[in-house]
């Protein structure tokens, strides 16, 4: 079936199967920043925004995106870059595989929360798993980015 979606502010017509999930559709249409890291809905790597809400694209059937606004990291280049620089300065840069989903969650948090505590930040990020480093450097970077040191 055909759906029409606004991806990163551009209207795109997409041909999708009823079975198809948004992560796969987006990749099929060349948006390769979207990745999947699990089969169990728990790692957050596939996070994109649907109508500005961070959502699991591995679990959202593509047809449900019809008429809606999808944002991936390609659509928030400036903000993502700004945050990435802070991450690097903390020595906490992440692997290329998980960082798009992680950064989309951090940027969503910046839009959604005002003056969060450390506890609120950690709670917001619980759905993003990292299999290889740790979380402390990232937490420092996020606090700097949000200005809540």
């Amino acid at each position: 079936m055909q759906i029409e979606v606004i991806v990163n502010l551009k209207k795109i017509k997409m041909e999708v199967d009823a079975n198809e999930f948004l992560a796969d559709t987006l990749r099929k249409y060349g948006i390769l920043s979207v990745r999947k890291g699990c089969d169990t809905t728990c790692c957050g790597l596939c996070t994109v925004w649907i109508d500005d809400k961070p959502t699991l694209s591995c679990t959202t059937l593509s047809f449900r995106a019809n008429g809606r606004k999808i944002t991936t990291i390609e659509g928030v280049h400036k903000e993502a870059n700004e945050f990435a620089q802070i991450l690097v300065a903390e020595g906490a840069e992440q692997c290329g595989f998980c960082s798009p989903g992680f950064i989309m969650t951090v940027l969503a948090m910046k839009n959604e929360l005002t003056n969060p505590t450390e506890e609120t930040i950690v709670h917001y990020l619980t759905g993003n798993l990292c299999r290889c480093t740790g979380y402390m450097g990232q937490l420092r970077a996020i606090k700097t980015y949000l200005g809540v040191l």
Partner: protein
Amino acid sequence: MFTLLNLVQPDTIEAAYKALVEKRNNIVLGGCAFLRMGSQRIGTAVDLSRLNLNYIVEQNEYVEVGATTTFRDIETNPLLNRYFNGVLPEALSQIIGIQFRNTVMIGATVYSKYGFSDLLTALLALDTEIELYKGGRMSLKSFLENSFEKDILTRIFIKKNERKANYQHLRNSCSDYPILNVAVSKLNDQWKIVVGARPQRAIIVQKASEEVANLELNSKNIDRVATMASNEITFGTNMRGTADYRKSICKVLVKRAIMEVLQCK
């Protein structure tokens, strides 16, 4: 991964129901998180997005929640944060992550009667009713205790009263499934102690709930009621914990929840 042969997006609930019951392997789509874990071959999938069931509204006597409302909408809703000491947002807040809670839906969870559910335990401690399109409106308790023909859950009604409530849970780690969960609520002298993830479905612990009302609630008596609660119901063993372990922590969680409710304003 499931296979979907056909998809319909009905404009009316009547049409949705008709499509659902047409064939045995037709189903309703929720947020798909659970469906996705299985390998079901689905005939027709019925999508409810055109039925405008994604809302939380305050009415005279109830807060009404539509079936396709997401967990995150409930978690961040100002009304539900204000009523019942925010017990519903609290119960949902540990489930996986924000992105997940923006995806999964209340109707799917309640209809599926999951034993491990965090939400059902909290909802059962409140005065909650549900509506099935065909089966009609009934208390959540009656829905959980009985079986019904294949149906669509359309709305949930939570009675607006002065119930004070608290939610407790134990997990091996954040965002894992609960090993046990407990919700306790109090309206005037009427208490409800609910235990879930036993790992069986949540139930109201009847005798202990009546007993709390009769006691002067000092530390010793709360201990007694908590022990009574854990003796009154049965527990099971699964990969997350043994029946004995659950029984032991039940006492602790019930005690904590009662003490919290006593502090509630």
